[in-house]
């Protein structure tokens, strides 16, 4: 494995992040030309990845990477096979067009640089996701896509709707990510590997493991959330609040496909069981019908596209669930077809919006003459969407029907679940076709609506993307040999985990296949639905109105409930009454000491009176006298000072028993705490006398006794046993030799356990900031600031 390959792969995943970092600066210098400069990055990645096509076609597996956290077996490593290469090419290829398109779409937007930064970061995360081998790396990139998509959906952050959509997408997909992490952790537990390449060898054993069910459910949870499967689909249509380039990129070719990618990737490990073959087709089937049906209800172009995207994702999940060779070939083809036509469609909808000023399909009409190039691109994309012959989608549809049809019609009828699946796919495809026709005919044909008056063909950057993708959607369907050899075989093989020999071709013999009859049925049904689309839309809208409930609303309720719950918990725990805080703290303190005593069932040895010197006894007597003085004190100040007596006596004891360090510190701490407590007293304007009633005194006294007795008992217990001196001996032996210090305590603090001390001093400082803020709040009026207030500085100048 060449090390320059390692480097170049890592660079591919990281280059978009570098570009993202530079994007705002590039935008400052190049203004409207910055999209051309930034598009070089994805284009370069595209050509770099494309150079691996020959190797991948020969079924080679290319892997590279670095060790990331060696101690845990976590590596930042990547591998390319047909599946990841195809995704990588789609991400970088479509990404190039998206960057160009964004430049035109957001022309004049003040935060264009920020937008480029976000979209490039997203691109990097997505590339990392599809190329990552190590599951932890994959998870990291997975969550990065959630975070960057949050930023992108909420890009127009001054509008409440986009903020809400962004949070919703983050909660759903991020929550799914956590489920995924749980699944990955279990996978590691069972297989002992983090790298997927190693796991592939583990497949059969894993499927029989006890953990198979939880692993499958956790992984599916993550994939379904990301790929907007029912009932987690609702975030995707809402995410249309994002600027159109984002929708075109995230919601057609890339992010939502991450779930599909993961399922395809995991299929050799987790797939092929009855459970897999049941859950995926059912969830996918519901999602397909749900999305396709609700697409008809919409009048907003982007919403129509979003709902059909949900439907397409459902279709792909369904096919992966069926998991036979034809179904997987169908998925691979459909994946390509969908990326092409849906990406094109989204960009077209943005172009129409930009040109005609609306995306409402009922307001648009007759744009054919005004926007000829866009019109042609739309014909190509709609043909792809409808799966007409000569498009990739057509081939995909033939394959998926073929996957379910057996030798003849009779065997199909004997298999009710396959028959059901055929019907679901047929209806779903027909519905999506109707949406495609609606977009094409309602927008471009018919009488010119008033919106068409100002409509005009957009600039090159607007239409180059959709036109190219539209051409690809058709071209791919014609060049069957090329597709067979370069796409289907290398992509489908790793999903099935055996060699797939693709055999697509175009010819008249396709027509006599039973699958073609199903295609014909799809088209007829699609046209019929298109003709009735107006009535269906009205009826659906009425139904939704009548139901008065949606997943969106349920999500809101859940979020609202969560906020209420945290509010209630906060109020319960953080009520602001210092007495109760302190009581609780000290009761817990006592419990911590008493707990072990009860649990360990210790045998107490008779207490021996230690043989001490006269002066040692006197010090102990002083300490005890100090305590009595505290209890007997008339005023609070007296009590505080008396507490100091006890503290000093203990400090002297430390000194007498050979712990000068401890004693030294104890002296200082005692002094300072008496001073600070006294200052707090005057600060808070407390009464001189202690005004607690008898019951309060009893309660506080018993808590204090409990804590004190607990500490004493534990100390005595510790002294009963023999102390483990190994660490002490080690430190004593090594502190001079390796740390050049005779003061072991100090050596431990600043050298052996320096990181702990670093943490502690950070805590000390943070606590200091908090205390200062509290003190300043009490004084009121003055600005709360860390450091010297202005008033003091002026005072100092006098």
């Amino acid at each position: 494995m060449a090390s320059d390959l390692d480097l170049s792969f890592t660079l591919v995943a990281l280059a978009p992040f570098f570009a993202a970092f530079l994007a705002p600066f590039i935008f400052r210098f190049l203004k409207e030309y910055s999209s051309w400069a930034l598009a070089i990055v994805p284009a370069a990645i595209f050509f770099f990845l494309a150079s691996f096509i020959p190797a991948i076609v020969e079924q080679k597996l290319i892997s590279a990477g670095f060790i990331w956290i060696g101690a845990f077996g976590i590596e930042l490593n990547f591998f390319l096979d047909g599946l990841s290469l195809t995704f990588g090419l789609l991400i970088s290829g479509i990404g190039t067009f998206i960057v160009l398109y964004s430049g035109a779409y957001l022309k004049g937007h003040p935060h264009q640089g920020r937008f480029f930064a976000f979209i490039l970061m997203f691109m990097g995360s997505m590339l990392g996701l599809v190329m990552a081998d190590n599951l932890i790396a994959l998870f990291t990139f997975w969550e990065l896509t959630s975070i960057t998509s949050f930023l992108l959906i909420g890009f127009d952050h001054s509008r409440e709707a986009s903020r809400r959509a962004a949070i919703q997408a983050l909660v759903v997909t991020g929550g799914g990510g956590l489920s995924l992490l749980a699944g990955f952790a279990l996978l590691n537990l069972v297989t002992g590997h983090w790298n997927m390449i190693d796991m592939f060898q583990f497949g059969p054993a894993l499927r029989e493991s006890d953990f198979y069910l939880p692993i499958l459910l956790f992984v599916l949870g993550g994939a379904f959330a990301k790929s907007a499967q029912f009932p987690l689909h609702f975030w995707l249509p809402n995410a249309m609040e994002a600027p159109t380039p984002v929708s075109a990129y995230l919601h057609s070719a890339t992010m939502v496909k991450a779930g599909v990618y993961l399922l395809a990737r995991m299929a050799p490990i987790l797939g092929g069981t009855t459970l897999w073959g049941t859950i995926l087709p059912i969830v996918g089937g519901i999602t397909l019908l749900w999305g396709a049906t609700f697409a008809l209800k919409q009048t907003d172009l982007k919403q129509m596209l979003a709902q059909t995207t949900v439907a397409s994702l459902g279709l792909m999940v369904m096919l992966i669930g069926i998991y036979n060779e034809a179904a997987i070939i169908g998925v691979v083809l459909y994946l390509l077809a969908h990326a092409f036509y849906k990406g094109a469609m989204f960009m077209i909808s943005g172009g129409i919006d930009h040109s005609a000023g609306t995306r409402d399909i009922t307001m648009l009409g007759g744009l054919m003459r005004k926007m000829p190039v866009t019109f042609v691109a739309t014909i190509l994309a709609a043909a792809g969407m409808a799966g007409l012959p000569l498009t990739i989608a057509f081939l995909a549809k033939e394959e998926m029907y073929g996957a379910l049809l057996h030798a003849d019609w009779m065997t199909l009828l004997a298999q009710p679940q396959d028959l059901l699946a055929v019907i679901v796919i047929l209806v779903g495809n027909a519905l999506m076709m109707a949406v495609g026709l609606a977009i094409l005919f309602k927008v471009f044909l018919g009488p010119e609506k008033p919106t068409a008056e100002h409509a005009h063909e957009n600039s090159f950057s607007f239409w180059i993307g959709p036109a190219t993708l539209g051409v690809l959607a058709v071209l791919g369907g014609v060049m069957t040999d090329f597709i067979n050899h370069n796409v289907v075989t290398p992509v489908a093989s790793p999903i099935i985990f055996s060699d797939v020999e693709a055999h697509l071709h175009l010819g008249f013999d396709l027509i006599i296949k039973p699958a073609f009859i199903l295609s014909l049925l799809t088209w007829v049904l699609g046209v019929l639905i298109y003709l009735a689309i107006g009535r269906i839309r009205v009826n659906l809208a009425a139904m939704v109105e009548a139901a008065n409930i949606s997943f969106d609303k349920i999500f809101d309720w859940l979020m609202f409930g969560l906020v209420r719950l945290s509010d209630a918990v906060t109020r319960l725990l953080h009520h602001g009454r210092l007495e109760i805080y302190l009581t609780l703290v000290f009761i817990m303190f006592a419990a911590v000491f008493f707990g072990p005593l009860f649990l360990m069932q210790v045998e107490w040895q008779p207490l021996q009176i230690p043989n001490l010197h006269f002066y040692e006894w006197s010090t102990i007597v002083i300490a005890i006298a100090g305590l009595f003085a505290v209890v007997a004190a008339q005023t609070r100040l007296q009590a505080i000072v008396s507490l100091g007596i006890q503290g000093f006596a203990v400090a002297i004891l430390f000194l007498l028993f050979g712990a000068p360090d401890l004693s030294f510190t104890q002296f200082m701490v005692e002094t300072l705490s008496v001073v600070i407590l006294a200052l707090v007293m005057t600060r808070l304007h407390l009464d001189q006398a202690d005004n607690r009633v008898r019951a309060d005194k009893l309660r506080d006294g018993s808590v204090a006794l409990l804590g004190g007795v607990g500490v004493t008992a534990l100390m005595l217990l510790v002294l009963q046993g023999t102390l483990d001196m190994r660490l002490t001996d080690l430190f004593a032996a090594t502190s001079v030799a390796i740390a050049h210090g005779h003061n072991i305590v100090n050596v431990i603090l600043v050298d052996y356990r320096g990181l702990d001390t670093l943490g502690e001093i950070s805590v000390v400082m943070t606590a200091g900031i908090a205390i200062l803020a509290l003190i300043r709040i009490r004084t009121g009026g003055r600005q709360v600031g860390i450091g010297a207030p202005k008033a003091a500085k002026r005072g100092g100048g006098k």
Partner: protein, 142 residues
């Protein structure tokens, strides 16, 4: 509390305590002492000076806001560990240099820098709190 005797002695006392705190800090690696205790002594010095001379006086004397001192302490403690990365040993590993100085030698080390950081954090935080508490209402409105 502001008796004449106290007010007269406090500045000298504070000065001696500050010098002593540095002494305690630096001897800490081999004798009882160290950054934490040194910082406490220095903070007490500042607190005493504040009680005697007023907070305004102290703030102008130390020039830097006390919490900035603490922040600086955390930073240099954290950075002292970075040097070890250059030597390809784990973060915060102690590095030592012994510089000949007359008949003796002076030991310069990253743990010492780290300890100075601890000293500054304790000094800054405790004196910030003490000074804030010592501030009376009049100090705010002068």
């Amino acid at each position: 509390m502001r008796t004449v005797i106290f007010r007269t002695i406090a500045p000298s006392l504070a000065a001696i305590m500050l010098v002593f705190s540095v002494f305690v800090l630096l001897r800490g690696h081999n004798e009882p002492g160290g950054g934490f205790i040194g910082g406490l002594i220095a903070a007490s010095a500042i607190a005493i000076y504040g009680i005697a001379a007023g907070v305004t006086e102290v703030r102008s004397a130390i020039r830097v806001p006390p919490l900035n001192i603490a922040g600086f302490g955390v930073v240099i403690a954290g950075f002292s560990g970075l040097l070890s990365l250059g030597e390809h040993v784990p973060y915060l590993s102690g590095l030592w240099a012994f510089i000949p100085f007359g008949n003796s030698e002076v030991a310069i080390s990253t743990p010492m820098v780290f300890d100075i950081g601890v000293y500054l954090v304790v000094l800054g935080t405790v004196s910030a709190v003490a000074l804030a508490l010592e501030e009376t209402e009049e100090d705010h409105h002068d």
